[in-house]
Amino acid sequence: MATSATRTRTRRAGRRSPLASAALLLIGLLATGGAYAALTAGASADAASESQVTKLADEGEKLFAANCASCHGLQAQGTEDAPSLIGVGAAAVDFQVGTGRMPMAASGPQAEQKPVQFTEEQIAALASWVASLGPGPSIPDESYLAGDGDLAVGAELFRINCAMCHNVAGAGGALTEGKFAPSLMGVSAKHIYEAMITGPQNMPVFNDANITPEDKSAIISYLKYIEANSSPGGLDLGNLGPVSEGLFVWIFALGGIVAITVWLTAKSN
């Protein structure tokens, strides 16, 4: 069963030392970098890359059969439990598996993030196989992920398109029936981009006609800016707005002052 395999893997992932995961990440990056280079190589390398892509896709098919087919079906055609993946594109797989949402663990209101269970290489393989099933959004170009877009444009687009679910500071928010829009702090630029073009679960899709790639890059830049620069006013109290401010004032300000008054009057008695 995929689930039991999943569970043991999760546990192992939890025990991995940080050094090992860094090494793994490096290997993974090199591997995807290689695969990426292979995919985009010039016409002269066509034959070679073709075979590499098929190799990658073949590996992906095996991984898929072992880990995903129980829900999505052997040909990713979809089952009662899970939707078809034909045409979701490499970006959806990279996002879902890369953020640890897939393979899905427990059925809840929403597939939640868990520790990532595959190496970058395996994710690339899965993505490549699913992408080969039908045309869909592909993994975004590095040039949009650098975080050098227009901050003010990004901030404005974020407020208009995303803040109603994710909160103006990307702190997250509630949706109906126990679903929620997660915090966007600490999400990689690539995954932010992929989330926009694939619209995971209850999030709408923002295609290139809606928000151009440059604008997406601006949104990412804004999110990366507020992530990197702490609030100019001091502690941000989770950026939850007046509720956390109100609790803070009752507990720490008034609470502190009452404690002082109790102490003062106790002394004088």
Binding site: M164, V168, E177, P232, L237, G241, L247, W250, I257
Partner: protein
Amino acid sequence: MTATATTPATTETKAPTGPGMRFVNWGANYIEDRTSMSGLVKELGRKIFPDHWSFMLGEVALYSFVVILLSGTFLTFFFQASMAPVVYEGSYPTLKGVEMSAAMASTLDISFDVRGGLLMRQVHHWAALLFVASIGLHMLRVFFTGAFRKPREINWVVGFLLFVLAMAEGFTGYSLPDDLLSGNGLRIIDGMVKGIPVIGTWISYLLFGGEFPGEAIVGRLYMLHIMLLPALVIAAIGVHMILLIVNKHTQFAGPGRTEGNVVGNPIMPVFAAKAGGFFFIVFGVIMLIAATVTINPIWNYGPYDPSPVSAGTQPDWYIGFADGTLRLIPPGWEFELWGFTFSMNIIVPIIILVVFLVLVAFYPFIEAFVTGDKREHHMTERPRNAPTRTAIGAAGVTFYAVMWAAASSDLIATHFRLSIEGVTHTLQALLILGPIIAYIVAKRISIALQKKDREIALHGYESGRIVRLPGGEYIEVHEQLSDYERWRLVSYDDYAPLMVRPNANGKITFGTKLRGVMSRWFFEDRIAPVTRTEIEASKHGHH
């Protein structure tokens, strides 16, 4: 009735000498000759202030108001109350080149381009939150100790006005920067106003000078925020203080404390010195928080624009209860009549809020009617000794707390991993059941505590010492209280339900009957205070 006090008895005063003192003396004489103020100062200086921490909550409110005045004055130097569109060219990068109102741009300038501006904004806003919070707690203290009883009913009403004015000050201030959050807040107010049948739309147009949001509202709110409302607050504080001096403080029962005196420190010099110190403590706490914790990060919210609404849009805490009531009303409460839409989903919350506030404002008169008590009271009642009032208070606090919690239903849902529907339905049930449960529990606890006090007053403490009598019997030795300690436990007023008596015409009016029923409800469960004879009896009967 005078303030017989623990004023230090005539200390020997040697005429101070030295050039410094000579100048002070000259100054004092100069002023005295022209104003004859010394009588007033002496009278004020002899006002007695009791020593119990809960009596200092009002002071916290006063001092935070002083901080608000100082920081607010600083803000007025730089704030532009105009909704004219400008392009922001200040130094905050994520808003550069964005079109916004002059109000928003100037608030951003205060935050990022005026030296000390961000600190002052944060001081102003944190002090505002503390101001209303301390008023709230101060009101609860007055309520639960029965300090609002005759002759202090009027001052309760003045205090209530201050509470409402403070909320209004806070809301108008919150709306000034014209950022997304304040615009959303105004939008809700606009919606509520428009929900009032027939006249709502007209009022909204009048308020906003046309279709929401218009160009006028910030200027109007600014006038309210820095002129009219502060003037009213200051006037109300003045009346509050004068009445406080006229009525004197209440005090908790204790040795030497009676209905006829106040025991504590006279304002001059002990209390004034303490109060001065205490002002700096409050000031220091506000400064510390304002210097380290962000409040109202308008740079995240961005300028107001009617289309986006952020997740987690909430008003400041003191308006939360109103927002919460709106959120708790089930959807679909609307009907049409004579061509008008009646939005009960808005009218009902408005009615609930108004009724709640009116009950709070008039509680002293309601209680006085029910108890028929026309005596003056200067002793603070321990909450347990008025079980029904304490229970009513607990129910009211619960009601308020549920409405308040409802304003953050979305955050409760995400942070405790619940569904927002579940949270809302639970709070809807709690809004009705919570106060009932709180009422019963608070009443039972009060009565149980009273019983315990009675036990202790009559039979002393359980000392934990077990003694074996010659006959083999074990008994625990009870330690008797000193007279001082006992005084605290036994001195409280006893009440009995009113008798329903016919009036001069031999008729029992409806009002009398109602009062009889209410009075029975108010006093049916009570523990009579221990009487002197009982104490004597228990002393003699004790081995």
